[in-house]
């Protein structure tokens, strides 16, 4: 068939696909008048035309016009369409705690790196009032001391910040704490050393401040301030560290995969952990900004809330989603892990479609 006849025969199909793609690519979602259900058939037909045009050596211009149509159609047809409400509920109800329990070993390692130095430094600083100066400079120590001075109306804030509103502190806690957690995760790519360093350093500083203030006799304002959000915040940092160590483990102990393949798989597994850490830290920021600094609440109540928080966080991470199946492996969160294997298979064996979908290496 001559190219001209071929073009004349199929131009209508190409135009229909073109119109449909233009509607699908528009900023607004396509309305009911757009025949989206035709996309698979149209794309299949035009894919066939593209293959024929290439094989018959039609003009490069025509081939590349068809190629463009096929690429655009492919992107629209196989675009991930996450169902956000279900995805998020699923994630909170079971996805996150299950992911953390799958990596319990690394979580305990991250906790040891975080809480170990914290405890040791806390005890040491409580015993030795000068030890904190080996870690923080005088200005920082003075700032912490003024924040938790018992004469302070709102503990946990420097006198200059007393008049600040809670919303401002909330913004600050989110920007600062969640930012630290995300960096802890990212730096895990440096063979886990970055995450380990952040965990140990944060543990040391928190322990030093706690021990130092307790030894100064500022214990009541300090402990009543931090108890409310401690469960959420400390757990969140440990979880972010777990995610970072998981990244690092792909380089240190890739198992029976190449390092890059192990990295792709474990990075995808780390995503629910990072999201969970972000959620815990945002919740911690809410509690810290709007509850922890409230004046006029007896310390006993704050301790009670703090203890309840630890119980709730512990129960959630231990029990939520237990006994139910892990989230669907086809869910969009996990797509990244599935990609490389599928593509490599397609490249090396060129399987037929039915074969490829039947034996897709998801794990």
């Amino acid at each position: 068939m001559r190219q001209q006849v071929f073009e004349a025969t199929h131009a209508g199909t190409w135009r229909r696909l073109e119109t449909l793609l233009a509607a699908l690519e528009a900023r607004r979602p396509p309305g009911p008048a757009v025949p989206v259900q035709r996309l698979p058939r149209l794309l299949r037909a035009v894919s066939g035309h593209y293959a024929i045009a290439r094989a018959r050596g039609y003009s490069p211009g025509l081939v590349s016009r068809l190629h463009t149509l096929v690429r655009r159609g492919y992107r629209q047809l196989y675009r991930p369409r996450p169902h956000w409400p279900r995805l998020l509920v699923d994630f909170a109800a079971r996805g996150f705690p299950q992911a953390l329990r799958r990596h319990a070993g690394l979580f305990w390692l991250a906790s040891a790196l975080f809480f170990g130095p914290m405890l040791a430094m806390g005890l040491a600083c409580a015993a030795d009032p000068t030890l904190i100066h080996s870690l923080l400079d005088g200005e920082q120590v003075a700032q912490y001391e003024s924040m938790y001075d018992p004469t302070n109306d709102k503990p946990g804030r420097t006198p200059a910040r007393q008049a600040d509103e809670d919303v401002k502190m909330f913004g600050f806690y989110v920007w600062n704490n969640v930012g630290i957690a995300l960096r802890t995760f990212a730096w895990g790519l440096l063979a886990g050393a970055g995450s380990g360093f952040v965990l140990v350093m944060n543990g040391l500083v928190i322990g030093a401040v706690a021990g130092h203030l307790t030894q100064l006799g500022f214990g009541t304002p300090f402990w009543s301030f931090v108890s409310g959000h401690s469960s959420l915040e400390l757990t969140g940092i440990a979880v972010a560290g777990t995610a970072g160590l998981l990244l690092g483990s792909a380089l240190l102990a890739p198992g029976r995969r190449t390092r890059s393949a192990a990295l792709r798989v474990r990075a995808a597994e780390a995503v629910p952990l990072v999201l969970g850490a972000m959620a815990l830290l945002v919740l911690a920021a809410v509690v810290e900004a709007f509850w922890s600094a409230t004046a006029g609440v007896p310390p006993a109540v704050k301790y009670g809330v703090g203890a309840a928080g630890w119980l709730l966080v512990g129960a959630y991470l231990l029990l939520a989603g237990r006994g139910t199946a892990a989230p669907d492996k086809h869910d969009p969160w996990q797509r990244a892990a599935a990609q490389p294997g599928r593509v490599q298979q397609a490249q090396s064996q060129r399987p037929r479609q039915a074969h490829a979908t039947g034996a897709r290496p998801w794990t």
Binding site: A8, A11, R54, T68, Y74, R75, L189
Partner: protein, 270 residues
């Protein structure tokens, strides 16, 4: 049906920034990878946009506590989630779109939440020690121009489709002096499609390289001969009888005829 293997320009096997992927429809598509320079420019544009948004929000700080809090929240979102938001909704950030780039999975499908989050959160390590030092090195070492975030997330940054090439200029068809193999036919067609954009001197120079014997034809200009041969290849002798408007613009074909034709080709409208 056995069809000959063709080395065609669309797939460009020899060019090392092209990646072929097979779609489930059984055809091969080509992804054109984007290198560090367009990506750096895209980052610059995004940085300017983010800075602009932040500056536009600074009057919020006048609202004392609440305003500062919102400003810090905005800073957090701009810093970490701005690329994720745009990659999930539009396929790429505004800067990348301006540079004609797109973020896709390794198989060419648009990026999903998990991969987008990963590649953007890991910017934190690509950015080290200053201004994407690690990312640039990774980009230059990896054959797919992937920075560490892309390696972990299994994503690629590719160029969108190039602008569509011109259609074949109409010319009275001439039979080729000798039978041409497929590759030569395609070279002739490619020349004809590009000829409107070439200067007359360059056109004549390229046409002379083809080395066709033009004495037999009435038209002694080698470029015109090649155009004629290209029209003969793609349209056959019948092109003489067809009015040029219909020949150059197949879209103008009557709707009824094309529907019938596409139905015959197996595509059925529901």
């Amino acid at each position: 049906m056995t069809e000959p293997e063709v080395e065609d320009q669309a797939a460009g096997g020899a060019i090392d920034t092209l990646r072929r992927r097979e779609t489930p429809e059984g055809v091969e598509i080509t992804l054109r990878l984007a290198g560090p320079v367009p990506r750096a420019l895209a980052f610059g544009i995004d940085l300017a946009i983010r800075g602009g948004v932040y500056l536009a929000l600074t009057p919020l700080a006048g609202l004392a506590g609440i305003g500062t809090g919102l400003l810090l929240l905005a800073l957090f979102l701009l810093e970490w989630l701005y690329p994720v938001f745009f990659e999930l909704h539009r396929g790429a950030t505004p800067g990348k779109r301006a540079m004609g780039l797109l973020v896709v999975h390794a198989d060419g499908t648009p990026v999903a939440p998990s991969a987008s989050l990963l590649r953007n959160l890991l910017r934190g390590v690509d950015f080290l020690p200053v201004l994407y030092g690690v990312g640039l090195v990774a980009c230059l070492v990896d054959r797919d121009f992937r920075r560490l975030g892309d390696l972990a997330a299994g994503t690629l940054v590719i160029h969108r489709e190039p602008p569509l090439p011109a259609t074949l200029p109409a010319h009275p068809p001439l039979p080729p002096p000798v039978p041409l193999d497929l590759a030569t036919q395609q070279a002739v067609l490619a020349f004809a499609e590009r000829s409107p954009r070439l200067s007359p001197a360059r056109r004549a120079e390229l046409a002379a390289l083809a080395g066709f014997d033009t004495r037999a034809t009435a038209d002694a200009d080698p470029a015109a001969t090649l155009l004629g041969v290209a029209n003969w290849i793609s349209r056959g002798k019948s092109a003489v009888d067809t009015p040029p408007a219909a020949a150059t613009a197949p879209q103008a074909a009557p709707a009824g005829a094309s529907t019938a034709a596409s139905t015959a080709a197996g595509e059925r409208a529901p």
